[in-house]
């Protein structure tokens, strides 16, 4: 699929803004998770600015598509995306992780408009997405459910319980995205606790599997459209990504999973993200 160059340029601009927010937010908070936020930017930008049916002025709109950030530590990416999309002011973003801020270290659905599920304990989001998809089907609704999983997160048994259930209940109104950046906290996923091979596992669990470059809008969107057309089974889009994408010194470094940039590093990162 060839994405309209104008559309693609707009998405790229949004992604750049979101990356800059992520750097500024974690820098201001002096803590947080830049690595896994930066790897997910294109996936979330594609969803919120192209794929999903939503209205930032009506976050509770019944007919909206739902997004579950199962890897809740990527909260900075979610908040930045929601703010860029107009759910709340981008000025609020730098309150991240401060006492009294709505922007908790991990997403809190009771506080933030647009956040569909409180997450942070890994491995739980896909089950919740299944529940939403089942509810949508019971209501004969046309809205869909999208979920974003980490690759390390897939070491949790609950992910595979949910994978089994989604296929069992033929949840074709559910699409999962795997942020396949190949890193977790203690190092590479294969060194810590090998969850591979992903395509074969998801296929064996009854899912339709797509594999894309997770930083290519045209590939993400094309796979999403193909997944939307799949009937009788859930789909997963395995997105090859780079942890820390866009900031040279953070790229592919496990160390930048949960560490905030200091003044100098933030300036350097923002200079690269110009």
């Amino acid at each position: 699929m060839v994405l309209d160059p104008k559309v693609e340029a707009q998405l790229k601009e949004k992604a750049l803004n979101i990356r800059r927010h992520i750097v500024r937010m974690t820098h201001a908070a002096k803590s947080g998770h830049p690595g896994g936020s930066l790897s997910a930017v294109e996936i979330m930008t594609a969803l919120y600015f192209h794929v999903m049916r939503l209205d930032p002025n009506r976050p509770e709109w019944q007919e909206r598509d739902r997004f579950v950030l199962s890897k809740g530590h990527a909260a900075p990416a979610l908040y930045a995306t929601l703010a860029e999309r107009g759910f709340f002011s981008t000025q609020e973003l730098t309150t991240l992780r401060q006492l009294g801020s709505r922007l908790q270290g991990h997403p809190d659905m009771k506080r933030v408009p647009g956040v569909e599920m409180s997450t942070g304990s890994l491995g739980q989001g896909l089950s919740v997405a299944n529940g939403m998809a089942l509810a949508g089907r019971l209501d004969k609704a046309s809205w869909r459910v999208y979920a974003l999983l980490g690759d390390g997160e897939c070491e949790e048994g609950q992910i595979w319980e949910a994978a089994m259930a989604a296929a069992h209940y033929k949840l074709d109104n559910l699409i999962a995205y795997l942020d396949y950046n190949r890193l977790q906290i203690d190092g590479s996923i294969c060194a810590v606790m090998n969850p591979e091979p992903f395509p074969e596992k998801w296929k064996a669990f009854g899912w339709q599997v797509f594999t894309v470059d997770g930083h290519s809008f045209s590939e993400i969107i094309a796979a999403t459209e193909a997944a939307q057309a799949v009937q009788g089974r859930p789909s997963i889009i395995i997105c090859h990504t780079v942890k820390g994408k866009g900031v040279s010194f953070m790229e592919n470094e496990a160390d930048w999973h949960g560490k905030a940039p200091n003044d100098e590093q933030a300036n350097k990162a923002l200079a690269e993200l110009a």
């Binding site: 947080g32 304990s121 070491e155």
Partner: protein, 314 residues
């Protein structure tokens, strides 16, 4: 103020010492070995370290198997995941068969800080305390942590040790001897007994100083073994002072406050004020901001003591 050391750091150091001494000691983690400080052991004894990945249920179940086959497994991850995510595995595979698993959970309590409510275990003591045969230890500082971790290896059966992320002042006297099931009177007093555990012990000592300025003599007791609780010593201090305060970095439901209330109710009913998290989830913030926000301060402990004393005079 005394030197501040995080109890998780003391844990990591002690594991390395014990790794040299005990060949049957093994360590398991769940992708948090740098944070829980088991990484040092992993580096020195790679064949006896098992990173189980982000899979806490399997982590605890595997530890049960290692214990059943004669090893002494130390299991570490954040307290929220260690006790919550793997609760049924702890209940049915560790506590019920009374296996020799040592759960040393770090990042307990509100002082996890910025990660927020999803990562702040405020109910772990309650969960572990309700399991038959589980020993529950909340060390107050680094030296006590070292001794408690060593003592756990000598104790036969499951042990839960609650450790923190942030630095805490060293308050143990140099000649302090930790013993499972003992409490430590850190400051004698006649007017009110303050029972504290974990990071709140040093806060309670400061509260006692504040009270002393008002000529109130507070006894400060470190209840590092919450289970089995030393009923006799708790009741004796209550009988002597006739007013009691508990302080803990935990929900006031189910933890130290509840354990002490149970003793008072059955053996020595006197006024009790519980300082802790007032049955709410936490939130993001710096540890210091959060302690102030939730009233886990010396001033609040001191005023709770005054309230307890006022009630005994009724």
């Amino acid at each position: 103020m005394a030197e501040k050391i995080a109890t998780r750091d003391a844990y990591g150091e002690t594991l390395i010492e014990l790794g040299r001494e005990l060949k049957n000691l093994v360590v398991l983690d769940a992708d948090l070995s740098k944070s829980t400080k088991t990484a040092g052991f992993a580096k020195l004894f790679p064949e006896r370290f098992f990173n189980m990945g982000i899979a806490e249920s399997n982590l605890v179940g595997t530890a049960a198997g290692l214990a059943a086959a004669g090893k002494i497994p130390f299991v570490s991850t954040f307290a929220v995941f260690a006790t919550g995510r793997a609760y049924d595995q702890i209940r049915n595979s560790v506590a019920y068969p009374h296996l020799n698993v040592k759960i040393c959970a770090t990042h307990a309590g509100i002082t996890v800080g910025e990660d927020g409510a999803s990562h702040q275990a405020l109910e772990d003591i309650a969960l572990m305390r309700a399991l038959p045969g589980m020993t529950v230890i909340v060390p107050a500082d680094a030296p006590e942590t070292k001794q408690a971790v060593r003592a756990a290896t000598k104790h036969q059966g499951p042990v839960y040790i609650r450790l923190g992320r942030s630095g805490v002042p060293v308050i143990s006297p140099p000649d302090y001897q930790f013993e499972v099931g003992q409490v430590a009177v850190l400051r004698p007093g006649e007017d009110v007994a303050i029972f504290a555990c974990g990071i709140m012990v040093s806060v309670a000592l400061t509260a006692a100083e504040l009270l002393a300025q008002k000529d109130i003599r507070a006894e400060v007791i470190n209840v590092s073994t919450i289970k089995p609780l030393n009923v006799q010593q708790v009741a004796a201090a209550a009988a002597k002072t006739k007013a009691v305060v508990t302080c803990e970095e935990h929900n006031i439901i189910g933890g130290l406050g509840s354990a002490v209330a149970e003793v008072l109710g059955e053996h020595c009913p006197v006024p009790l004020e519980r300082v802790g998290i007032n049955d709410v989830f936490g939130q993001s913030g710096t540890p210091a901001d959060l302690l102030a926000h939730y009233g886990l301060t010396a001033e609040k402990v001191a005023s709770a003591a005054e309230r307890a004393i006022a009630r005994k005079q009724l």
